[in-house]
Amino acid sequence: MAANSRLRELYESIVRIRAVETAQNHLWNVGLIPGEIHTGIGEEGIIAGVLEHLAVDDAIACDHRPTGVFTASGVDPTSLLLELLGHPDGLCGGHGGHMHFLSESDRLISDGIVGSAGPAACGFALSAKRLRPGTIAVAFFGEGAMNQGMLMESLNLAKVWSLPVLFVCKDNGWSITTHSRDLFAGDPATRAKAFGLRTGRVDGSDPTKVSAAAKRLIDRVRSKHQPALLHARCRRPDGHFLGDPLIRVFDDPVGQTREIGSPLPGSVRRGSGSMTEQISALSALGIRLGSLGMQRIRMNRWDPLLRLRCTVGTEAAMEIERRVSAEVRANVSEALRIAEVSA
């Protein structure tokens, strides 16, 4: 396929994810989706860049941010939205919900236990090796998940069992409201290397770079039956989940800071810590909020959609955006119609 048409397909995939995630967020904001929603806005470049190189028989294990992967895999967005609306016609009949999209025919799962994508991908890869030689399994997870024992175990397991797994670490730098660098010793790629995995590092907000790095690793995983890990940095403007308290503080400092960002004065007085300890503790919270703020301000620089848009060219991009938005709007209308609600 010509390089240009490949780029356009990559862009289309990213636009579609963005559109579905945006629709999902809207439904959440108006209250039609009740529980937690972890959006993947900002990590679409990683998803699309990896999925570009997967075949229909490959399997994928996602974490708690599955909407992008399911969309890019070609699962009908209407069935995803109906699932989020808790409708019987949803992908899982309303039984799974946002963290539990499962599609047997696509061999696609997602899961709310941090780290579980590692073992899950190993199991898929074991079947792949025995039943569908030449196919592979992919695990998507965050950098925080790499501190979960079962995920580290699965790096070792994949290596010693020669399993065709691509581990993809989407590193946004945060696990919920905790700055990962404070709690992560070393870095994801070095850790994977210590288990003998091939690794790649890439700026996840640059979809073409992700695509190239993913291709290199996937080719190897597929041909050599050996696991590899791709470490891709990204930034997510919506924080951890919709309604993220840190994001709320940043967006509405006056209204929310008292409530969320700063301590109740009463308990400062009651505390047994020294004044210095109290001040240093306070400033730690300040730094946390501040660094999140800087990240949001620099968001454009980290937006995979905007970055690829320039390469694709405005005209081609607009055509894709128009077409895909229309399709996703149709998905949304259909879902709302079936669910008999309006948003």
Partner: protein, 336 residues
Amino acid sequence: MKSQMSYAEAIERAIDSAMSADPRVLTFGEDVRLLRRNLLVGHGADRVMDAPISESAFLGAGVTAAMSGLRPIVEIMLVDFIAVALDGILNHAAKNTAFSGGKWDVPLVVRASCGGGYADGGQHEQVLWGLLGGIPGIDVVVPSTPADAAGLMTSAIASDRPVVFLEHKLLSDYWLDYLGGNSRPTVEFDVPALGANGQVDDPIQSVPIGSAVVRRQGSDVTLISLGVGVHRCSEAAESLAGQGVDATVVDLRSVSPLDTETVIRESANTGHVVVVDEDYLRGGLSGEIAALLAEAEVPVSFSRVAVEDTIPYARHLEHDALPNVDRILAAVRKIP
């Protein structure tokens, strides 16, 4: 002196007092520096520590920290996640005192949120108190009001045994807020008003672990529950009163030890028992109550309102799966 406060505030007060009184008390877990920012500011970063997503390691560390002079409160965000770290509780916290021949205490508190009713799906809404309560060597408490939350947390920290402290997410308002769900005016969760807020003694009155309490005294049927279930039972009892049925409501407060005396006395009084348990039907607690009654030879009619399968995501399915007022009323109606 009493003051009005939220369930979450009550727990925080209890921990704050304990930390002020005893420098050996400290707390750690994921995101606690933000979640417990009042304690952080009050007691310093050395005593309120963020942990990596490594529940086995930091819960396991809590066990030996407790055995070597500290009194840690280890937070497991949602009790569902205890599945990745059960070893620390089952094989270490619960057993080390026994292995030492009774010589070595483990004064550990494991604090976790639990429970459903806010559309978070079957992997985030479990209570698992039956599973935990079946393990000898640990205590498991489940407060349903701010006063009990403060009082049981105070006892848990003071106890030389390992205690699992479960707070229901519908009662601890900040959990609903933190998980994002409650930040929209258009979404409503069925939060029991009397559990989420209430009067708490100052200084905090500790509540002994293993003592149930009678929330309502009636003569026709005994509803036995804990956590949010207690409030569902109270609501059902009001409705039953309108129909001329006078219900007792027992709040177990502790799954382990179980207050067998209160259970037996209140069951015998009415002769009709309905256990309202947000845990799985065969999770252990509701069955255990039947066994206690049978062993004590208390002849009663017995039925259960519990969770029968994986909790579904869709709100109407979730509502039906959890013990709700209608299901309690239906169970009472079926009493012969």
